[in-house]
């Protein structure tokens, strides 16, 4: 019978993993909801966020809050990349078949991940935690690093900010409208093309931020993009493609299933996650909080 400290620690680690996934998956969900495209390259943006954070830390060091600067810088760099890609290349594919759009995002994965290899090599990189958050608390007998707690607090904060922007601001209204009916929005005189670019930029920002923030916790290596994108797919499927809170819920569920799965059925934890995804698709394809797509 596992003791409380242990259960608590596992649960917390599941929640932390969930927050990172939420950051990435929310960007994926946003792009899907508005642009109706599954962006395979999203995992690669996440990876680039981690690498950029590493690079910036190499240049400016970690003291005096520099880490936050690095994280922000990385997220902005990735956001800029996303914007350029959308503007220059992706937008010409909107009128083509969906399959071609998907293939394009996959081509981006190939290109960008090799570019990362060229710039940073194949050795794994690590980033130390920012000085302010190197300690740990003892809660219920479990050791919980400050950084993890920070991430746990940050996740919902970002979720709420995001939700607020979507529900209460004008820009958010436009985004939601574009997700529902692009043509009418265009007919109303809104610059839908520009909107699409901003959505892509925002989603890339979130992905890059996720990567930058996870850099102190996990090694940054090539191949982290293909791993994480499948995880992100699982999350958005469980929660509901295009549903914001669905993505949050999906991430939470995924994190808990994975961390307790590893505990009780170590051999089948990866199996469990995909079985869950398949089950959701078979029983309720539009996810827990999604709406049936016409």
């Amino acid at each position: 019978m596992p003791d409380l400290a242990f259960v608590f620690a596992q649960s917390l680690s599941g929640l932390t993993a969930a927050m990172f996934l939420f950051l990435i998956a929310s960007g994926l969900s946003l792009i899907f909801g508005v642009l109706r495209v599954l962006n395979f390259a999203h995992g690669t943006f996440y990876m680039l966020g981690a690498y950029c954070a590493f690079q910036i830390v190499q240049w400016i060091g970690l003291d005096g809050g520099r880490f936050w600067l690095a994280a922000l810088g990385a997220a902005l760099a990735v956001a800029a990349l996303g914007g350029i890609v959308e503007r220059v290349l992706f937008r010409h594919l909107y009128d083509k078949e969906e399959l071609y759009q998907l293939l394009f995002t996959y081509a981006l994965v190939l290109i960008l991940s090799d570019v990362a290899k060229i710039i940073w090599g194949t050795q794994q990189k690590s980033v130390s935690r920012p000085a302010e958050l190197t300690g740990a608390f003892q809660i219920f007998g479990a050791t919980v690093p400050h950084y993890n707690l920070f991430i746990l607090a940050l996740g919902p904060t970002i979720a709420l900010t995001f939700w607020f922007v979507l529900q209460r601001t004008r820009a958010g209204r436009f985004i939601r409208a574009a997700a529902l009916d692009r043509e009418t929005l265009g007919a109303l005189g809104v610059n839908v093309d520009g909107l699409y670019t901003w959505v892509f930029v925002l989603a890339s920002f979130l992905g890059g931020l996720g990567g930058a923030l996870i850099a102190p916790m996990r090694a940054t290596t090539p191949g982290m993009d293909t791993e994480v994108i499948v995880e992100a797919f699982v999350v958005v499927v469980i929660g509901g493609l295009g549903s914001f809170w669905g993505t949050f819920l999906g991430a939470l569920i995924y994190g808990q299933v994975l961390s307790f799965g590893i505990l009780f059925f170590p051999r089948f934890s990866i199996f469990a996650v995909f079985a869950l995804m398949a089950a959701v698709l078979m029983i309720r394809p539009w996810g827990l909080l999604g709406r049936p797509i016409r």
Partner: protein, 326 residues
């Protein structure tokens, strides 16, 4: 007039001369191409002819490979049993998985095919006792070619061949038969019904086509041939590994299909040839093959959406309609 030339037959005959003409390396590459050509053509039955985009076709490839590997290495069964078994087991799995997949549309269909493929991968990855787990199953034996070898040695004109050459010929013959069968299928009334589903599934319903049933049938047939390709590949590759079912394998075969052109029957086979040949060439100069492939894909998407076959056909049409002929 050019269309009357039996290109496919000529290519097949020429393919028989590869071991005689080239080194071991060329035979190796040709063998690779032949197997992937079958894999890609099987996917095209779903993507190009029925309009169903699957992200998890590698599941059946992997299942076929493991079936043949397990039967030949662990159960010591002959290739003559292990090879068809690959197709049968893959087909049964395709029936089960496909039943759930065809009830969904488009993106959900694609996601479920992906989920099932990842489940297959996870099972292969973790089920150490049966599948060898993460290490896979190395050293799958070649089929026994003693009988054939004795006949060939008796005929001086044919020269001598290695085991890998015999295996290449085996693959060539089997793949040719499979492609012939697939060609009959797409040219049949069943194949025509599939294209109606691709063109307009709603209208297909209204001409009496039970769309789900046909899609499931296509899914199973595609799965069977992918399984057969996998069975051949496991032996060729001298080992069966979990990544045969991983989603990146599915994306490789999807790219080949699109690269070659999913609008024609031989497009995917051409795509397989192009991709593998290109890979071999480039990998000898640089390790950054994904970068090159990605760039080629981008160019293709913007300039030749019909794939290579599409581009060649378009070019040929333009040449045929030259000012002289009109």
């Amino acid at each position: 007039m050019l269309a009357r030339v039996p290109w496919a037959l000529l290519v097949l005959i020429a393919a028989f001369f590869v071991p005689a003409a080239g080194s071991r390396f060329y035979t190796f590459v040709a063998n690779d191409v032949v197997i992937w050509a079958l894999f890609a053509t099987s996917l095209n039955l779903l993507v190009g002819y029925t309009g169903l985009v699957s992200f998890g076709h590698a599941a059946y490839f992997g299942i076929g490979a493991y079936t043949t590997g397990i039967l030949m290495k662990k159960a010591g069964l002959s290739f003559l049993i292990a090879f068809p078994a690959a197709g049968i087991v893959a087909g049964v799995c395709a029936l089960v998985f496909g039943f759930f997949c065809v009830r969904l549309t488009r993106i959900y269909f694609a996601m479920l095919t992906l989920a099932f493929a990842q489940i297959v991968w996870a099972i292969c990855f973790k089920w150490n006792e049966v599948t060898g787990g993460e290490q896979g199953m190395p050293e799958i034996p070649y089929p026994s070619f003693d009988g054939v070898d004795r006949v060939v040695s008796a005929l001086p004109a044919l020269g001598s061949y290695r085991t890998s050459d015999y295996y290449y010929f085996t693959c060539l013959v089997l793949v040719a038969l499979c492609l012939w069968a697939l060609r009959r299928i797409v040219a049949s009334p069943f194949g025509r019904m599939l294209t109606t589903i691709r063109e307009n599934a709603e209208r297909a319903e209204f001409i009496g086509v039970n769309v789900r049933r046909y899609e499931l049938a296509a899914f199973v047939i595609a799965g069977v041939f992918a399984g057969l390709a996998g069975g051949l590949f496991g032996i060729f590759n001298r080992g069966v590994f979990p990544d045969f079912a991983y989603w990146t394998k599915s994306s490789e075969v999807l790219i080949m299909t699109l690269l070659g052109g999913m609008g024609t029957f031989y497009g995917p086979a051409i795509g397989a040839l192009a991709l593998i040949w290109l890979n071999q060439q480039i990998v000898s100069y640089t390790q950054y093959w994904p970068l090159i492939l990605g760039s080629i894909l981008v160019i293709l998407l913007f300039v030749f959406p019909g794939g290579l076959a599409g581009a060649v056909i378009a070019l040929w049409r333009r040449l045929v309609r030259s000012p002289v002929g009109a």
